[in-house]
Symmetry: C2
Subunit: 239 residues, 2 copies
Amino acid sequence: MNTEADYLNQYDASRFPSPLVTVDSVLFTLHQQELCVLLVERANHPQKGYWGLPGGFIDMARDDSTRATAMRKLTEKTGVSPSWLEQLDTFSGPDRDPRGWSLTVTWFALIAWADCEPHIASVSDARWVPIARLVDYSLAFDHQKIITAALHRLRQKTMYSLLPVYCLPETFTHGQLQEATEVILGQSIQRKSLIRRFEASGMFEETGESMATGTRKARLWRRKPGVDIHLFSRNLLTD
Amino acid sequence: MNTEADYLNQYDASRFPSPLVTVDSVLFTLHQQELCVLLVERANHPQKGYWGLPGGFIDMARDDSTRATAMRKLTEKTGVSPSWLEQLDTFSGPDRDPRGWSLTVTWFALIAWADCEPHIASVSDARWVPIARLVDYSLAFDHQKIITAALHRLRQKTMYSLLPVYCLPETFTHGQLQEATEVILGQSIQRKSLIRRFEASGMFEETGESMATGTRKARLWRRKPGVDIHLFSRNLLTD
């Protein structure tokens, strides 16, 4: 075979056995002051009846990347695209799936509860499970380990950014962002550090509306379109 | 099929076509005050004659994870295990490899030049290429993009840790660590910030030896065995 074209004409993919490849996502939201993760009850073998992360096989005819697979699978379950989606890690090995050597490319995602609740409640086989209740669920494969890795990433990034805003509705108050941040970190934060970070980020604009909170009104904010997340060099908790 | 055992007995992996899966590593070192990356000239199609990252297919009979594949492939080229190895990202899609839909799990690694130079010089088809010279090489697939991602990760982590120590020989001086850090970041740093970080990390111990540097002697240090890398919350460059 002298040319690449000759090589490709005779190329036979079945001579190179590949591992079983899946894409799984850890989607978080906040609901009733609890951090929740989306789980799906497995309808089929293997591990039928166990709870797993939303995900599945790559559709090579439709997906142009594992990001596209993650997005497609999440949208099937929630009815909408997640507000935030980033790659986590790849988990692999001969023992994590009983079908054989397997590899899953995992993604970490955030969404506002209200955006997907109608779809999940009415048509989806998925369920929001508070992090504190995961212990009551039999999780499939190594999905507990994947959730733990995603939770670590979420908390780390929350210390250095305003990432929790992707769990909030389109318009929100400073108080809602503080609560979201505190629920994710599992501890209280200084309101004034958060506001300083909020103002320095350049990520937000006022809507002009406000919301009644107790005896006073709080201004409503939204993300500016097209403005990326700002990473701060200081830790919200310690600096 | 009522039981998982029945299901697994009848399971046929070929019914679930998988993408082509590879593992590729970006191995960096420092040599003559230049940051270098290890490249291998491709001996076979596809992209024969192009330069690519050390890597290849998972050997499902031998490798118990993609980390093991990365380690095996790097050791083949360098003769030794890298001092540092961490997962980067997965790159995927229908167009990145002419053989079809493919996915590569990438790893980011560091090694001391002296540790592997004898092997690379004598028996390997690999070559250290200074980052500034990459432009002279025809790189295979999307390997330029992968190197760019690894370089970004290396520089980010260097700002928040003492990661460059994994590019140094087993024993080294403060001056060598400063030089390595400056070469990686492409700018000079405050010696006293580096020393403060070095002392606070708890990662190092004196060897009792010293090295002649110009008119004076500099103490030699080594990593304490079993002590993990320390991540600082402050940026070496800006805080």
